[in-house]
Subunit: 402 residues, 2 copies
């Protein structure tokens, strides 16, 4: 069930005080085994296969730099991931990297593993030094609280929320193995991930290279098709860890990628539903493009358009703006072949308005989920992007940091 | 003075009824000569050198398609430009092109020129057929009203307003010649122009190829450095016409490009000041890039960032978002070399926060014009983009078409 760890993992969350007294803001996910012969059920933490996908932003934050280095140093065997909200530890220079390393060292000390076996993720404000004293001070309690009890992942998901209004979590039952994950993200979400963090755990038996391939595939078909505001964060991180405790059967890249893909797609839709100031989740689908990569470029262009997003906020099926964005996407385009539908109702065909059931479109636009389908009429390429509308709330959320 | 035509041009504006009774929505700018020996001062309209720069949107509207064809057919000799607001005649298929041609034919008939000597520009809603009856019906009065009196260009500038709140016009006095222009545009403004229309007239003596080169240069350094919302319209058009009545001296491309550039830059700043829902004009300057083209990519990325725009709306000097956008722009970037200043006050150096005069920054951010200077510290490339903040008004303006 959601919120429950899969075999071989434990989680915990505490308040470090960075986000205010009593607010959960520090989370830990660790690979654990029961201590042989220990009747008190104490857990032993140790490294398991792990993979990560990180932001493409060249201003990558300190935790991203440190986590990348630790994954490389251990060749993909990690024992724990520590995550904090409230401060992204980004644009913080050498001190920021030292702070990220010290966080890993403190976690390693408490769990009895090597510092390189710990990854770190941060989310929050950019450019302000981390209050490292509070983080280091909270790690012992965080480590002591590690548990496999139901609800442990729920608390971890809650602790990484920033402007999120709901915790994001997912559980997928596959053939002989399971995936449990948490995520956060509500803005600065764009192609090539987002200010989003996600940690996936699975009990599948898999080696690091296969785990890495499956994760890359899953992210490519889920988070990389999510776009809230076109901004790419300094801290984007998706981590997957595999305990191998499900069975003796090695899981193939394809089936693991499918399970991870389903988990990531669920988290991505949860993020879009919770996007800052948004009232609707929007599926933008482009078919009939010359290629699927051109379809993706066109779908992103429509999904990221401020004018289209404003129309959606007003529940206005203004397809002219959709056609205009398709035309300016830089892909092969012939306006005389274009058709556009909202919720399956064709409103534009051959590049011009067509009579249609306006009531049906109005009803569809008033819903919580809106689908825009664009057929370029040129080839077999298709792609889909998950996005949202743009409302006053987004501006209110982002006009000030205090 | 502003609003007065230069020698050899006349203008007029009427209400066609498309935008409501009595609302000026149809404008005409024509090249005119006094009829020899005519004491009543009647004007003769005839073709003069003309150049145009049009949208890069592949969903180019009917008037863009027709104007491009007419410029090609006449090899750059045009007698008049007719402009309507209220309907963009875009995504209107064959009927749209026929309507644009019929508008040119009607103007040509009234002015005694060939249809190919008339260009047409439209701005307004996309995807709705033009009310061609009202346009054709209004053209005779529009043509009869042509005048060189002061205020004629003012009325034309007013007639092409859509969501603009003020008419945009400019006059530049150069060495031996003058440039007078009008423009419109308040949203859907992006690199490679905008939903913007502009008509420049000059009395300079110049042939079509040189006129075309000067206009392209001027647009490249002005309108193409303006970005309001990253959207590129279906109808963008900048037209320049030259009467040659200033003197016998042929004007060089360079000096004409300078005068046009100054005129276009003025119109671009007027558009940014009048951007929908915006409260501030923002100059984003990037220096120290590996090349000037990389600097322009980075400056556009910062200028188009929703998160940066929201910060500006809130007068919040959140430089972390600026650094994040620079890092995700895809250009050469080393965070340890970056500095950012607001209004000349350095807030970030070497990629981290620096102590600074917060009062001075607060004062600068509270003004009507804000300057963000980003030094990448890598090379000699520089570029500047004119933009604006993002406020509730933009959403309110664009969430519904009715």
């Amino acid at each position: 069930m959601t919120g429950t760890t899969v075999a071989g993992f434990a989680a915990s969350a505490v308040s470090s005080g960075v986000c205010g007294d009593g607010v959960l803001d520090l989370a830990l996910v660790a690979s654990v085994r029961n201590q042989p012969g220990d009747r008190r059920g104490r857990l032993v933490v140790s490294g398991v296969p792990c993979a990560g996908v990180f932001t493409s932003n060249r201003a990558a934050a300190a935790p991203v730099q440190v986590s990348r280095a630790h994954l490389a140093a251990t060749r993909g065997r990690i024992a724990a991931v520590v995550l904090n909200s409230g401060n992204a530890n980004a644009a913080t220079g050498r001190k920021g990297r030292e702070d990220a390393e010290r966080t890993c060292e403190q976690v390693a000390r408490c769990l009895g593993v090597a510092p390189e076996e710990v990854l770190v993720c941060s989310t929050g404000i950019i450019g302000i030094p981390l209050d490292i004293g509070r983080i280091l001070g909270a790690v012992p309690a965080l480590s002591a609280a590690l548990t496999q009890e139901p609800g442990a992942l729920d608390d971890a998901a809650t602790a990484i929320m920033t402007t999120d209004t709901v915790a994001k979590k997912v559980r997928i039952e596959a053939d002989g193995f399971a995936v449990a994950g948490i995520g956060k993200g509500a803005a600065m979400l764009a192609p090539n991930m987002a200010t989003m963090l996600a940690v996936l755990t699975t009990d599948a038996l898999v080696e690091p290279p296969q785990l890495s391939a499956a994760l890359a595939d899953a992210v490519g078909r889920s988070f990389n098709h999510l776009s809230i505001d076109g901004c790419t964060s300094t801290n984007d991180t998706v981590i997957a860890m595999a305990s191998g405790m499900a069975s003796g059967r090695a899981v193939g890249v394809g089936e693991l990628a499918d399970a991870f893909g389903a988990a990531c797609a669920s988290l991505a839709r949860q993020m879009a539903f919770d996007a800052e100031g948004a009232t609707k989740l929007v599926d933008v689908k482009v078919i009939g493009a010359l290629s699927s990569s051109e379809a993706l470029v066109a779908a992103r262009r429509v999904a990221d358009s401020l004018l289209v997003k404003c129309s959606l906020n007003g529940e206005d099926p203004y397809w002219g703006r959709v056609v205009s964005e398709l035309g300016s996407a830089g892909v092969a385009f012939d306006i005389d072949r274009v058709s556009v539908s909202y919720g399956g109702v064709v409103v534009c065909a051959g590049g011009v308005a067509v009579d249609h059931d306006r009531g049906a479109v109005r009803l569809h636009m008033s819903g919580r989920e809106v689908e825009i389908l664009c057929d370029l009429g040129l080839g077999d390429g298709d792609a889909a992007v998950v996005s949202c509308d743009l409302g006053h709330g987004y501006i209110d959320e982002n006009r000030g940091t205090s």
